[in-house]
């Protein structure tokens, strides 16, 4: 082999190596099922539709839905892609940054609100008629309300219910046939369980939304208004419950909640339907001994959902077609069909009336499904209706944790939280 040829060969090998590595870094086609773009043979509008972690489990449902839609709308072609939960937000941001935004995107409410506050999403209050908007539960539809605009169409949802350990409740002398209706009832039950058993009463998530559940306002205009005697009194009540051993002094992540309830260290827990599967696996005995009822409400009379939504990025080149398709996916009939396929709850009023949700077969799953669908009339998703809601939320969360867990002074922490929120609102 000549020396010159060796030199060329070496360079070629290095070049190929670099090319190979860079090709591996390319995101095109990785983890998605891109059906390719239109070749323009029949001038169809292509609507790029992104979902989160629904392939391959629900391929049949979506393929049928898309086929039906394309049949009803011959000028439209739906290009469905699916991304993992962790990747979708970054993927969307980079697509928007590179001016290749998709048309319809599945996002949770937090992400949708964040994108909306940056002016990146289409306002459905401008795009839809009152009749079209009226199909959704108002509380859930308003979850992405910012000023006059609403930036997401609610899709499938889940609403936490109250799980009660029957034997602990009975040991505490509580009648499980009359479950707690309000947060006050829940605290009283919790006290009884803590007094009469070796367990905590219930798990409490020390979040900003807990203040909203009691009907207190966080902000008004561009001012924080939560640093007042009523809120302090409410927080002090929770501190007393922690000190009395009614609430564990902890921020239990989901797996830890399962652990606490599954090992009977806590008598009651407000959690989602996915809690059941975890509990069934971790503690079959406790699963057999648990009942589900609608979650008690605070003074505001609301229950928070965990909703998945569909949004349309402002950059979409087919806003009308995208809006029409997003509304089609989230209409009564399709939400009901998806709820049956995926064991979720619909966010539309008519779909929620279907008998499918009321066939309580006595199992914990059946009880939870009925309890949660009955809760939908009071459903809302966490929102503040302001820009930088995420910043405000996390700022207050941190100070609440300082109060509840880090034993910091209530007055000083609320004052610090108020200042921080005012700074965020002044940006």
């Amino acid at each position: 082999m000549s020396k010159g040829f060796k030199k060329v060969l070496s360079f070629a090998m290095v070049f190929l190596l670099v090319l190979g590595v860079l090709a591996a870094c390319s995101s095109e086609g990785s983890g998605t099922k891109d059906s390719g773009s239109d070749t323009g043979k029949d001038e169809k509008t292509t609507v790029e539709f992104w979902t989160i972690s629904l392939q391959p489990t629900f391929n049949d449902y979506f393929n049928d839905l898309i086929a039906k839609y394309e049949e009803e709308n011959p000028g439209v072609k739906i290009d469905w892609k699916d991304f993992p939960y962790d990747a979708v937000q970054n993927k969307l941001m980079t697509s928007i940054a590179s001016k290749k935004a998709p048309d319809v995107v599945n996002l949770n409410t937090v992400m949708a609100n964040q994108m909306a506050s940056k002016g990146a999403l289409v306002d459905f209050n401008q795009e839809l008629t009152d009749e079209q908007k009226g199909i959704y539960f108002e509380g859930i539809y308003n979850s992405t309300l910012q000023g006059e605009g609403a930036y997401a169409l609610p899709w499938y949802t889940g609403i936490p219910v109250l799980y009660i350990n029957k034997s602990l409740a009975e040991k505490a002398g509580i009648d499980v046939n009359n479950p707690p209706q309000t947060k006050e009832d829940l605290a009283n039950w919790g006290k009884q369980i803590a007094d009469k058993t070796d367990s905590f009463g219930y798990v409490f998530t020390m979040e900003t939304r807990s203040i909203l559940e009691e009907g207190f306002k966080i902000v008004e205009g561009d001012k924080a208004i939560f640093n007042n005697d009523e809120v302090k009194e409410y927080i002090q009540g929770n501190i007393d419950l922690i000190e009395a051993g009614v609430i564990p002094k902890d921020i239990p992540a989901f797996d830890k909640q399962v652990q606490l309830f599954g090992s009977e260290q806590v008598g009651m827990i407000i959690s989602s339907s996915s809690f059941i599967n975890q509990l069934k696996t971790a503690s079959p005995d406790v699963y057999e001994n648990t009942i589900a009822v609608p979650a008690p409400v605070g003074k505001a009379g609301i229950r928070y959902t965990n909703t998945m939504n569909l949004v349309v990025p402002k950059q979409s080149k087919n806003v009308d077609a995208a809006t029409a398709f997003a509304h089609y996916v989230t209409n009564d009939a399709n939400q009901l069909a998806f709820s049956k396929a995926a064991n979720t709850l619909p966010s539309t009023k008519e779909a929620a009336k279907d008998e499918h949700f009321y066939k309580n077969d006595g199992t914990l799953e059946g009880q939870a499904l009925t309890a949660s669908v009955e809760s939908l009339d009071k459903a809302t998703d966490f929102y503040l209706g302001i820009e930088n809601a995420g910043d405000v939320d996390s700022a207050i969360n941190k100070h609440l944790q300082n109060i509840y867990i880090n034993d910091q002074d209530l007055d000083a922490e609320l004052e610090a939280a108020e200042k921080e929120v005012n700074d965020i609102l002044a940006r």
């Binding site: 060796k6 070496s10 590595v21 002016g119 902890d250 930088n388 995420g390 944790q401």
Partner: protein, 299 residues
């Protein structure tokens, strides 16, 4: 330098060959490390959010950073995290001395100590999370031997959470630094040690007066990289506490990530990144200067 090789790449100098082999790595570094660093400099003076309108904001991001209580708390925690640096050096040097013995089965111990290094930090964090939970093995053991009266939520208690995370970082990093020190120990000339033994030096004297001075370049290198790693700690904090409870475990890297990828404040997070980079640079220069002046004198 520039010397022609006689076999293989005969028309390449050694330098050219070296560059050729480094090229793929350098190209990737340029694309995914140097370019983002350079790109983040102008970003720090804007309100860039990827998806919204971008405008120049001057020094606003920096002003905001210095009045941001969360950022200040994160810097304090990151600086506090540097406490683990001397512990890592001392323990890993001792471990290196231990595994440098010529005894049966020593390779097993070297491998065992190194396993945490090659284990994913996320997996390590989750396992330690279980061990340190209030019903975990750690509480059980400590209560069994009477060191604890009641259960501690190691990762949810503001007084213990940061220390627990530091311990996890220490535990995972020891094997890595041990290997570097082991390489250093094996480079210590045996004739020096034998001469010292003939002169009647004890093992302790040999370590203090011969081994440690000869390990100085390794100590300098390990101190520098472990200090940088301590300030930039991310994985274990993000997985186990996300900075909570309150701000008690919030480190600068986690806060920068939260501002960028959760709040879309990329301009602000770039400014924070620059500030943290300057802090790291300051400590690095300090260590360089300290080392040039002789460093710690063990004898």
């Amino acid at each position: 330098m520039g010397k022609k090789r006689t076999v293989g790449f005969s028309r390449f100098s050694e330098v050219q060959t070296a560059w050729l082999f480094m090229a793929p790595g350098l190209l990737l570094l340029a694309l995914f490390t140097f370019w983002p660093i350079i790109f983040s400099l102008p970003l720090a003076f804007t309100n860039y959010s990827v998806i919204g309108e971008t405008s120049f904001v001057g020094l606003d991001n920096f002003k905001r950073a210095f009045s941001d209580v969360d950022f200040i708390a994160s810097i304090k925690n990151s600086l506090l995290y540097m406490i683990i640096v001397p512990f890592i050096q001392i323990i890993s040097i001792l471990m290196a001395i231990l595994v440098n013995q010529k005894i049966a089965g020593i390779k097993f111990f070297r491998t065992a100590y190194y396993i945490p290094v090659v284990t994913s930090m996320v997996a390590v964090a989750i396992i330690w999370g279980w061990l340190m939970s209030s019903n975990g093995v750690l509480n059980y053991l400590l209560m069994s031997v009477g060191l604890l009266d009641e259960k501690i939520n190691w990762l949810s208690d503001k007084d213990t959470a940061l220390w627990a995370l530091m311990f996890i970082t220490l535990w995972k990093g020891l094997g890595y630094y041990m290997m570097i020190y082991l390489a250093g120990l094996q480079a210590v000339p045996t004739d020096c040690i034998e001469a010292a033994k003939i002169d009647g030096a004890s093992n302790f004297q040999i370590i203090r007066k011969i081994i440690l001075p000869l390990l100085k370049p390794y100590v300098f290198f390990c101190t520098l990289i472990s200090l940088m790693a301590a300030i930039r700690v991310f994985d274990e904090v993000f997985v186990l506490t996300s900075g909570g409870p309150g701000n008690s475990t919030l480190t600068s890297s986690v806060y920068i990530y939260q501002q960028g990828f959760e709040q879309f404040e990329f301009g602000y997070s770039s400014a924070l990144g620059l500030i943290v980079s300057f802090i790291i640079m300051f400590f690095s220069i300090f260590i360089f200067v300290f080392n040039r002046k002789g460093g710690v004198n063990p004898y």
